[in-house]
């Protein structure tokens, strides 16, 4: 077991080790033992190469692979685009790796490519995103987005003093991760914070300028607006600009997902008030472990949901919170 594990990950990890201990007679798998998987090669294909979330995930996966003594080759799409990711998958398939960790950028379009690579004997582990076909992948590891939405709602409600209106401005409907976050957010608000009026969700199509004008219009219609849950970084930027122009910065609390470097800066500056950080590092590490377990024909956990943590200005200096900050480079 690694020292100084964050609470969420360590429990998940401990559970995984316990499963291994129960089912596998060998000692391989936990505690950095590299026995048995030395010659195996792994590949990792991320969704967007330059995204700090995926960079953090990649760094952790590389560390874990090094520790387990396997070779990990990293690839990633330049954009969130099926047409960009599919050729990468096909070229990786040609090398017949023992295991493939992938964040598919589409729930359906990549299924044939992944089916093919799986049939050729490669153990596929889906990290962060998923495909709808349940036969793909030996394990699926992602953040529990509904829980993340609830975490955001709890923190935001606390900052709002449990009164006023709250609104969600998201990117676009029909994205499984953000839809789940909104669902969790709305459920938590309705169930446990009756003093807060929940306004209908708005979508800005990833355009900060649209988010800025939407938040100003909402402010005009609902002067008691006290909190906003932003779908992503671009949206959060637009919202904080809109609030600043309307002279409401600080009065309306803004919660956003992820903990990218510029979001941390925004938290320090007070343009954002709550960050709900995922744990991409844990996803990467678990991905490597699960792939190796599958290759070694050991027990594999089919679904793993990693925890999320709420970062505010008050707790951002604590070391057990700081390690959730995403990295821009390894």
């Amino acid at each position: 077991m690694r020292p100084t594990n964050p609470t969420g990950r360590s429990t998940a990890f401990a559970g995984f080790c316990a499963v291994l201990a129960l089912t596998a007679a060998t000692t391989a798998g936990c505690g950095g033992d590299s026995g048995g998987s030395g010659s195996k090669s792994l590949d990792l294909i991320t969704g967007v190469k330059s995204d700090p979330f995926y960079i953090t995930m990649t760094c952790a996966a590389q560390q874990e692979a090094k520790k387990r003594g396997v070779k990990l080759t990293v690839n990633g799409s330049a954009q969130w685009d099926v047409a960009v990711q599919r050729p990468i998958i096909d070229s990786v398939a040609a090398t017949h790796p023992g295991g493939l960790l992938i964040s598919p950028v589409d729930t359906a379009a990549l299924t044939p490519s992944l089916q093919q690579i799986q049939n050729a004997g490669t153990k596929v582990v889906l990290v962060d995103t998923e495909v709808s076909d349940a036969s793909i992948g030996v394990s699926r590891i992602s953040s529990d987005n509904e829980a993340g939405g609830r975490t955001a709602a709890k923190s935001l409600a606390q900052l709002m003093g449990d009164k006023g209106s709250a609104i969600v401005i998201s990117v676009k409907p029909g994205v499984s991760t953000t839809d789940a976050r909104i669902k969790g957010f709305n459920e938590e608000m309705k169930a446990n914070h009756p003093g807060i009026t929940l306004l209908p969700v708005l979508y800005d199509n990833d355009l900060p300028a649209t988010a800025a004008s939407q938040i100003q219009s909402t402010l005009a219609a609902h002067p008691d607006l006290g909190g906003v849950f932003a779908g992503n970084t671009n949206t959060a930027q637009g919202i904080s600009t809109g609030l600043q122009a309307a002279g409401k910065q600080g009065k309306v609390k803004v919660a956003a997902f992820d903990a990218e470097p510029d979001e941390i800066t925004a938290l320090t500056n007070g343009t954002l008030d709550v960050l709900v950080a995922q744990d991409p590092g844990a996803i990467g590490r678990q991905g490597v472990d699960q792939a190796l377990a599958a290759i070694d024909k050991k027990k594999v956990t089919a679904h793993i949901g990693t925890d999320m943590v709420a970062i505010t200005k008050a707790n951002m200096d604590q070391p057990d919170i700081k390690k959730f900050f995403y990295q821009a480079a390894c």
Binding site: L207, P208, G242
Partner: protein, 348 residues
């Protein structure tokens, strides 16, 4: 002429059975922008009546104008390009590239705490980037004879790609001087009018007048109506096209400075549909995609119709999906009204 005066006999349309129409009203109705302006006025009147305590009071005209300012600046350039029967799909990406290059200079010369010297140089870098990129695209359209759709589609991808190469795809931190943000982004002239609005209307006024009253403007219309005829009367069509595309590039550069000042970041991923928004505004304002027709005043109206509509619908609490439907319907209806009027005039 007074309001009671009978219509001239020679005008076939104005038979005695119709009530006489005052001539100022008829002139106004014949003006290109009158009908789309009517749509805008109708929308404003509707939202004001529906939410008198909110629309244009708490949420005032300066907020709408601030949010529309950057699209307006891009729209002015696009008006020129569309009048010469061209198109520029690259505006959003050129804006991003200009913003990124100027941000790179700011980052290495003081970052968020940098002073006016850095602001001036980074602004010049943004304007020059836009101008040069635009001129290059203009040269490809005019001299290399590549269709503008292809040139600017290529430019759209290449400029965005270049910006991603420079930044590694992430919006860099410390991209804007805090001074620029406080003074231009959120500052107001005389404490009343946001500087972004002042800049946007300044640019609109200058280039609107240039289009309407100067030789440069007349050449623009002439080339859009019939490039061959324009060439034969001695207009240097190629040089003029380069200038027009350089102008839209320059205005994209200006837009990037305004963006940095207002949003404080390069927003590399946030400009993929700027081109559609801006082209829609220009066409809504009465410009023809086949060239030769359009005006900056029309574009101003065309930028404001969607802006007013989306804010008004949010204030009324309309569900988002219905907002998109309503905006789509109004866009098509406004252009249909305009076409209807033109047909009437052309046949009458």
């Amino acid at each position: 002429m007074t309001a009671q005066a009978p219509a001239p006999v020679k005008d076939r349309q104005e038979t005695t059975r119709r009530p006489p129409v005052p001539s100022w009203l008829r002139r106004l109705a014949a003006a290109n922008e009158a009908w789309t302006f009517g749509v805008l006025a109708l929308l404003v009147a509707f939202f004001t009546a529906a939410r008198p305590s909110t629309f244009l009071t708490r949420y005032d005209i300066t907020q709408i104008a601030t949010n529309a300012a950057i699209y307006l600046v891009l729209g002015v350039g696009m008006t020129y390009v569309i009048i010469v029967a061209g198109i520029d799909l690259s505006v959003g990406s050129v804006l991003v590239l200009s913003a990124v290059l100027s941000a790179e200079y700011t980052i290495h010369h003081g970052g968020a705490k940098s002073g006016w010297g850095t602001i001036a140089v980074s602004t010049l870098i943004a304007l020059a980037t836009g101008l040069l990129w635009g001129a290059l695209q203009g040269w490809l359209v005019a001299k290399a004879r590549v269709p503008p759709l292809i040139v600017t589609l290529g430019g759209f991808g290449a400029a965005l790609g270049a910006a991603q190469i420079i930044t590694g795809g992430q919006d860099p931190a410390g991209a804007v001087s805090g001074k620029l943000q406080r003074s231009i982004g959120f500052g107001k002239l005389f404490g009343q009018i946001p500087w972004l609005v002042v800049i946007a209307f300044g640019a609109t006024l200058v280039f609107g007048l240039v289009l309407a009253f100067t030789r440069f403007g007349r050449y623009t219309y002439a080339i859009g109506s019939n490039p061959e005829a324009a060439r034969r009367v001695g207009i240097n069509v190629d040089a003029h096209l380069v200038k027009v595309y350089a102008l839209v590039g320059l205005l994209s550069g200006l837009g990037s400075v305004m963006w940095l000042a207002y949003f404080g970041t390069t927003s590399i991923a946030g400009h993929s549909t700027d081109n559609l928004k801006v082209i829609t505004a220009v066409v809504l304002g009465g410009a023809s995609l086949f060239g030769g027709r359009g005006s900056v005043l029309g574009t101003v109206i065309g930028v404001f119709i969607p802006a007013v509509l989306s804010t008004g619908l949010i204030i009324m609490g309309v569900q988002q999906y219905w907002q998109d439907v309503a905006i789509g319907v109004v866009l098509v209806a406004a252009v249909y009204l305009d076409q209807f009027r033109r047909r009437g005039r052309d046949h009458g």
